[in-house]
């Protein structure tokens, strides 16, 4: 059973409670680094928290009765997915919980007559269609190495996954770019697409519903980077450094590419993702055959 005297028992609980805070700080670092890359000063790192508190205090304009429920659902399911990661549960279940969280957001956006909101929701579906298969294939290749789909199983495996699955790690970069809503694949909700999209999938949220959606987004960023830190699982300090390196790479990509259309997004993610992961698995099998 659970040993309540061992302080390490409480680490996952603390992590889950802190997940939105970690994500919020990451978004603050993101805005600061982006500003520095554009030779601007940039806002303080705590800026996302000011934004969320302000949004919480604004007059709510509710587009439909179900919209607030779905906004809370987006945050709730994202946090549940983070809890699955922190408690070392099944990776497949984690991916499906993430998908449910995203679906909450999409249904909420479809639940109004706004053209921009509907367009954003459709593009978010396309984004899901692009990254979900790659994410699933990455999970399958991890299970191929460790023998099961559990996050705990990665910790029992002594060799760092990055040394065995380097190409799978690379294939996760477009997945991160899409899910963090960064250029060139920020087709569903860009913060810079005023004329074309307004705010895409976020258009119809306002006040506290938007604050909840923001919290959900921060949690997802923390979740994805936490998932990437598993690639050096035995030593989580190096794993975290690895996740930060990836975060920086995504920011560099964000600042050097314009937004591309959804066809390019699907093609790039599928072709690059599938080829890299398949090459990785084929290479592993070939090595097994040659050395046995």
């Amino acid at each position: 059973m659970v040993d309540l005297t061992n302080p390490y028992t409480y680490v996952p609980v603390v992590l889950v409670i802190l997940a939105p805070v970690i994500g919020g700080l990451l978004m603050g670092i993101d805005r600061k680094l982006t500003a520095r890359m554009q030779s601007r000063m940039g806002p303080p790192i705590t800026q996302p928290f000011y934004d969320a508190i302000k949004l919480w205090g604004k007059e709510p304009f509710i587009a439909s009765k179900i919209q607030p429920v779905l906004a809370f659902g987006y945050f709730g399911f994202s946090l549940a997915a983070f809890a699955l990661l922190a408690f070392g549960q099944d990776i497949l279940l984690l991916i499906f919980t993430m998908a449910i969280a995203d679906l909450c957001l999409i249904v909420a956006a479809f639940n109004s007559k706004s053209t921009y909101s509907n367009l954003g929701a459709r593009r978010e579906l396309l984004g899901m269609m692009s990254y979900e298969p790659v994410l699933l294939l990455a999970a399958i290749s991890i299970s191929f190495v460790t023998g099961n789909f559990m996050v705990g199983g990665i910790f029992q495996f002594e060799t760092p996954l990055l040394t065995i699955l380097p190409l799978t790690f690379l294939a996760m970069i477009p997945v991160l770019v899409i899910d963090m809503k960064k250029s060139p694949f920020d087709v569903s909700a860009s913060s810079h697409a005023h004329q074309e999209l307004v705010r895409g999938i976020y258009t119809e949220f306002s006040g506290y519903t938007l604050a909840m959606v923001e919290l959900g987004h921060w949690t997802r960023v923390a979740l994805l980077l936490g998932f990437m830190s598993l690639f050096w699982a035995p030593n989580l300090i190096i794993g975290t450094a690895l996740a930060f390196m990836l975060f920086f790479i995504v920011l560099v990509i964000d600042n050097s590419y314009p937004r591309l259309d959804w066809k390019t997004m699907v093609k790039t993610t599928w072709v690059v993702g599938f080829l890299l992961i398949l090459a990785n698995i084929v290479g592993l099998v070939a090595r097994l055959v040659i050395f046995s």
Binding site: A35, P43, Q47, D51, I53, K54, R199, T203
Partner: protein, 147 residues
């Protein structure tokens, strides 16, 4: 200062609407976002969605064709909010005074809180105008009556 008031002062998201200006003031507003002035260091973000915005920046004289759009945008912004008229045209109609197709200043359509004069208004004075609008938001947030 209460947390909510502080958060409101730290993150004013602005919505920019051009109702028939010559683009001089619009270019100066965008100049405020560039590295030289960088208003994002105060948390000011130019946002495209009235439902997320706190401050409405209007340039150009209101006219009969776009007054409906301007009114609609203003109504879609949730409280607390502030309106800034930027440039001579938005303040009073300026060179369009008595033109049959214009309505004069923006304050003939929606209530304006801060007037930023200038043709075109300079980025420094625009940033100054936003700071003045924040004082209004602070008063509203602390529960004072503002007219």
């Amino acid at each position: 200062m209460k947390t909510m008031t502080k958060a409101r002062l730290k993150s004013p998201w602005v919505l920019h609407f051009d109702c028939g200006s010559c683009n001089g003031c619009d270019i100066e507003i965008l100049a405020a976002l560039t590295p030289k002035f960088d208003v994002e260091r105060f948390g000011i973000v130019n946002i495209g969605d009235p439902k997320h915005a706190d401050v409405l920046l209007v340039t150009g004289p209101a006219n009969k064709r776009n007054q409906r759009v301007l009114k609609n945008l203003f109504d879609q912004m949730p409280q607390p909010k502030a309106v800034i008229a930027i440039g001579e045209c938005a303040c009073s109609g300026a060179i369009f005074h008595n033109c049959p197709n214009t309505l004069g200043g923006v304050d003939n359509v929606i209530p304006v809180d801060v007037y930023v004069p200038g043709c075109a208004a300079r980025p420094e004075s625009i940033v100054d105008g936003v700071v003045l609008a924040l004082q209004k938001l602070q008063k509203v947030s602390e529960g004072e009556k503002v007219d």
